[in-house]
């Protein structure tokens, strides 16, 4: 029996282009930034660096959007820049806005870090505890990882239960509403949800809510064979349509949301173009050079 040769998966399945492409684009972006800094430093009429970052934003957006046409090295470069920037920015922010004010300064004595120091040296224990997570990379001591993971899992499980109750209990209570009452509930206004018929109040939307809830749950009720039991099959059929409506709504709002994001991008791009048009017109009118 011949064993199949296993092969490590490729980093990506797209076409492999020459590294010259990547280097060329990278140099272009770098040169762009350098020119931007020079421009910001020396150009007398435009001291606003945001003019330059706006143009960089325009290039980055067009570079990312270029994937709509086809996969290409420009897209990949900006994709990697985006991921790298997000991670780098996140790490810096976590250190300066979380670790320093909430761990380092409270832990250190005032004699070392000044007024911000708290002297709570026990906080140092957070460091070895946190480092236990990384033991997973060393097979000989990887078992130590279980200590910290078990603490984390137990803590998360307890909180998850609390969160489940805190979040869903009010919704379950809200779902139990009588669709027909002999008294007028003050919380609903007159209208379709409060029709009065000879001393009886019919709350139409609450009735609809119960029907939709029951039918949708019937669709997922697999303990009884739907083919044999008509009293489950028919509501389940109706429930299927309700689910379709709900999914359609989710899809519709998702499309709407995505359009909003695209509109914002295009609006920003058009603003940047208009801004640059104004700047260039100013230079041409006043016969100015970029640097003098």
């Amino acid at each position: 029996m011949v064993e199949k040769e296993t092969r490590a998966p490729a980093a990506h399945d797209g076409p492999v282009e020459s590294p010259a492409w990547i280097i060329a684009i990278f140099i272009f972006v770098l040169a762009f930034l350098v020119v931007g800094v020079l421009f910001h430093t020396y150009a007398p009429a435009q001291k606003d660096f945001r003019l330059w970052t706006g143009l960089l934003g325009l290039l980055a957006t067009v570079g990312i959007f270029s994937v709509l046409y086809r996969e290409n090295p420009v897209f990949r470069l900006f994709e990697h820049i985006f991921v790298g920037l997000s991670v780098g920015y996140g790490i810096a922010a976590a250190w300066f806005q979380i670790m320093l004010p909430q761990w380092y300064y409270p832990m250190m004595p005032r004699s070392i870090v000044g007024e911000q120091g708290g002297g709570m040296w026990l906080l140092f224990l957070a460091l070895p505890m946190g480092l236990l997570f990384f033991t997973v990379y060393f097979p000989r001591i990887s078992w130590m990882n279980r200590f910290i993971l078990s603490i984390l899992m137990g803590w998360a499980a307890g909180n998850a239960l609390q969160q489940f109750i805190g979040s869903l209990a009010p919704q379950i209570v809200a779902a139990f509403r009588a669709p027909i009452t002999r008294y007028n509930t003050e919380e609903v206004r007159a209208g379709l949800n409060n029709i009065t018929l000879g001393g009886i109040h019919i709350h139409l939307w609450w009735l609809v809510s119960i029907v939709v809830l029951t039918c949708t749950m019937a669709y997922f009720f697999f303990s009884i064979d739907h083919k044999r039991a008509g009293w489950v099959r028919e509501p389940a059929k109706v429930g299927r349509y309700f689910i379709m409506i709900a999914l359609g709504t989710i899809f519709g709002t998702t499309v709407m949301g995505r359009f909003s994001l695209l509109i914002e991008r295009l609006d920003t791009l058009m603003n940047t173009i208009n801004l640059w048009k104004g700047v260039l017109a100013y230079w041409f009118v006043h016969h100015r050079t970029f640097f003098h």
């Binding site: 945001r50 709509l68 046409y69 920015y89 996140g90 810096a92 922010a93 976590a94 806005q97 979380i98 004010p101 909430q102 803590w155 909180n159 609390q162 969160q163 489940f164 109750i165 805190g166 979040s167 009010p170 919704q171 209570v173 809200a174 709900a246 709504t249 989710i250 709002t253 998702t254 499309v255 709407m256 949301g257 995505r258 359009f259 909003s260 994001l261 695209l262 509109i263 914002e264 991008r265 295009l266 609006d267 920003t268 058009m270 603003n271």
Partner: protein, 313 residues
């Protein structure tokens, strides 16, 4: 006929992108302010903010979570602008914070820009709580001890004491928060609803400004009373903006404010055009999509009929 139908059904999606972009650009250039019909949940949120006891002298603040990044500025950015304008027009004292590094930085610039136009003073009328990790320990500390959970402000890095920031006078726990409005792309609402809200007595009033994707998941919270109002996506922002514009116009006519808000004024952080204007483009895009859906379905139905006829013959 067959070739034509095949052409429609196998149309390269890039043509659709091109048509959409042309419609977007054209409608952005020619766009004008829409006059939307305000959704009931948006009006509820507006009313709740208006009624929140966070005016000077009431010893409470409104907490605004700006939990989003640059990618969702189209929706969340407009929601933020509309809400902050309302808070400032109604003289509500408020604090902003974020669980994303970008949201914290952008939020600070955005709020400073808007505050500059309304003459709102940092530390007295509003404060930046900065970037916080969305961990359970943070939320649980926040419930009982806001200064301890926050530590230092996000702008100057100063400790949250009434001496440093007059707005913090009397602000100790979530009981001193009149309302929390969560503007977010993420599922952060669940944390607030499930951890913070049940632990505060009386129950913390919460508003939610979400992206279009999260709208359907938010309505059950509204129905159960866990949310007092909702601002769904760009449409919600446009509705809220309409209410705020009306309030501002009334104040301007009464001589209570000197100038109206200028969305195009020089700013550290440039936000997109007003939501009511962007909704014009949104509407145009929806019409194009409806057109494509119609064309696609007609093509499919005709091709099915032709295939059935051929099969029958």
């Amino acid at each position: 006929m067959d070739a034509f139908l095949q052409g429609i059904l196998s149309l390269d999606r890039r043509w659709i992108y091109l048509v959409l972009v042309i419609v977007f650009v054209f409608s952005l250039i020619k766009g004008r302010m829409t006059n939307p019909v305000v959704l009931p949940p948006v009006r509820q949120l507006y009313t709740a903010v208006e009624a929140a006891p966070a005016n000077p002298g009431q010893q409470k603040i409104i907490l605004v979570g700006l939990d989003y990044e640059a990618g969702s500025l189209g929706e969340n950015g407009n929601q933020t602008r509309a809400l902050l304008r309302h808070l400032m027009l109604s003289h509500k004292r408020f604090a902003i914070f974020s669980i994303t590094p970008q949201g914290a930085a952008n939020g600070q610039m955005m709020t400073s820009d808007i505050a500059g136009q309304y003459g709102y003073e940092y530390g007295k009328d509003w404060i930046d709580f900065g970037y916080k990790l969305p961990m359970l320990s943070f939320y649980k500390t926040l419930i009982h001890d806001i200064p301890k959970a926050i530590g230092q402000d996000g702008r100057d890095g100063r400790v949250l004491t009434p001496q440093n920031f007059p707005i913090m006078n009397g602000i100790k726990s979530m009981k001193d928060v009149a309302m929390h409005v969560e503007i977010t792309t993420y599922a952060t609402l669940d944390d607030w609803i499930s951890i913070v809200q049940p632990a505060t007595k009386p129950r913390l009033k919460m508003g939610y400004a979400c992206t279009g994707i999260n709208v359907t998941g938010a309505y059950p919270y509204l129905d159960s009373g866990q949310l007092v109002g909702l601002m769904p996506g760009l449409k919600g922002a446009a509705d809220y903006e309409k209410l705020v514009d009306a309030q501002e116009n009334a104040l301007y006519r009464a001589g209570k404010i000197k100038a109206r808000f200028d969305p195009y004024a020089p700013a550290q952080f440039r936000l997109p055009a007003p939501a009511r204007k962007l909704m014009y483009t949104q509407n145009a895009a929806h019409l194009v999509v409806l057109f494509f859906i119609l064309i696609g379905n007609i093509g499919l139905l005709i091709s099915l009929r032709i295939r059935n006829k051929k099969g029958g013959a």
